[in-house]
């Protein structure tokens, strides 16, 4: 098993684990934005750059997708690595100036302002990391959103920038968005969920017991087809909100133990 020496600290990792995995094992913090264990790393945000010792020179590499295959020496807190990451953070701050999540991360890195002008495109506050696109396609299997345009016009959008017919309103994109730009909006009076800024909407199921809004109809259907629990009993339980389902299960358990006695 190869050994990674991070800032002088030795960690052993399995072959093909990444520098980031090694650093986390060693308890050394490397800032990340576009890294998420659920999807393969695209290394698009460039925030996790570290210096890799190449013998007579050092190379800046993205730690989240650099596989460790032999013993290597990396520097996370070298002057050059820190300067590179701070530079990237300044650029990201200009892209997403309104993101609280990004500001908090910047402050943790010691970046308090950006010298670059704010980006004022249609899709502001998006760092184009692609996590939402990946999760929608690879995990949810819908690909309701994708990248549109190129260069400075590149943006994450639903086809034709219209509400997407493929969107099931699951909110995975909102959950994974590292800068909090994608949001789930609940329209209680219409019993609908809206994924902002894509304007896609889906009808929500209502709990049969208490009337609380549960998941969208499509999400419930998808859950049933994905899991092997497509029994009438399971389907019936999905018509309840999680709280009522717990109460129901507790009630059934209580009855069962009562009868046993």
């Amino acid at each position: 098993m190869p050994t990674v020496t991070i800032d002088g600290c030795k960690v052993t990792v399995k072959k093909d684990e990444t520098i980031l995995d090694a650093a986390r094992k060693a308890g050394i913090w490397i800032p990340t934005l576009c890294y998420h264990p659920a999807v393969p790393s695209d290394a698009s945000c460039r925030l996790c750059m570290v210096e890799l010792d190449r013998g007579d020179w050092r190379q800046l590499v993205t730690s989240c997708n650099y596989p460790v295959r032999r013993d290597i020496v990396v520097y996370v807190s070298s002057e050059r690595a820190e300067a590179a990451r701070r530079g990237v953070m300044e650029l990201l701050l200009a892209r997403a100036p309104e993101s609280g999540e990004l500001k908090a991360l910047a402050e943790r890195m010691g970046v308090y302002e950006t010298r670059y002008p704010n980006v004022t495109e249609s899709q502001r506050n998006c760092i184009l990391c692609g996590l939402c696109v990946s999760v929608c396609e690879q995990i949810i299997g819908k690909a309701a959103i994708g990248f549109a345009g190129r260069g400075v016009d590149r943006a994450v959008a639903a086809p034709f920038r219209q509400p997407s017919e493929d969107c099931i309103g699951c909110g995975a994109c909102a959950a994974i968005c590292p800068v909090g730009t994608i949001k789930i909006r609940i329209h209680a009076d219409e019993q609908e969920v809206e994924i902002s800024p894509f304007k896609s909407r889906a009808k929500l199921l209502v709990c049969e017991q208490c009337g609380a809004l549960v998941a969208s109809k499509q999400v419930s259907e998808q859950a049933l087809t994905r899991s092997n629990l497509n029994s009438e009993e399971f389907r019936a339980s999905l018509r309840l909100c999680p709280k009522c389902r717990r109460l129901q299960t507790a009630g059934q358990l209580g009855a069962a133990t009562f009868y046993k006695k």
């Binding site: 396609e137 819908k142 309701a144 994708g146 549109a148 190129r150 086809p159 034709f160 997407s164 493929d166």
Partner: protein
């Protein structure tokens, strides 16, 4: 609509429904319709079992794909390095102002589609403007507008000779 589906079917068959040939398929569709109509992209996505977002990504990535109908004439202005230095931005500005059209857009009356490209390989005679395949060299804002106003005037005659 049934006929539209047939077009897509033919195009898909031409490439054995190979997803890797998506771009040629879209080019064929554009050759057929003049642009990429929404419904056609929908059925193409369906036939190839691809998400519509993939087709939209491809269509918006390449400048040669159009999602809106094109104008009767095609006006292309070179904004490559040499043309740029010789005043292409001023010509572009003049056209945009006079005809209320952005680069990449089509005039309201569908008279022409205005495109900016990076170098047409005629730098010696910059700045260059191409109208329906005819090259105009050493263009100035005034001469460019003159040519374009000419399009509007001879609308009917140009339409007839358009093919030749």
């Amino acid at each position: 609509m049934a006929q539209d589906d047939k077009i897509i079917e033919q195009i898909v068959d031409r490439y054995d429904a190979d997803v890797g040939m998506l771009i040629p398929m879209m080019q064929d569709l554009q050759a057929e319709c003049g642009y990429l109509p929404l419904e056609q992209l929908h059925s193409l996505a369906k036939q190839l079992s691809l998400p519509l977002s993939r087709l939209y990504a491809v269509a918006t990535f390449y400048a040669s794909f159009h999602l809106a109908p094109k104008g009767a004439h095609e006006v292309t202005l070179c904004v490559g390095t040499v043309c740029y230095l010789k005043g292409a931005p001023k010509i572009s500005e003049a056209i945009s102002r006079e005809f209320h059209v952005e680069t990449g857009g089509t005039t309201r009356d569908r008279l022409f589609t205005f495109q900016a490209v990076n170098c047409v390989g005629a730098c010696a005679v910059a700045p260059v403007m191409i109208v329906d395949g005819k090259y105009y060299n050493g263009v100035t804002p005034a001469s460019a507008l003159e040519v374009l106003y000419g399009l509007g005037k001879n609308e009917t005659s140009v339409e007839k000779d358009g093919e030749t």
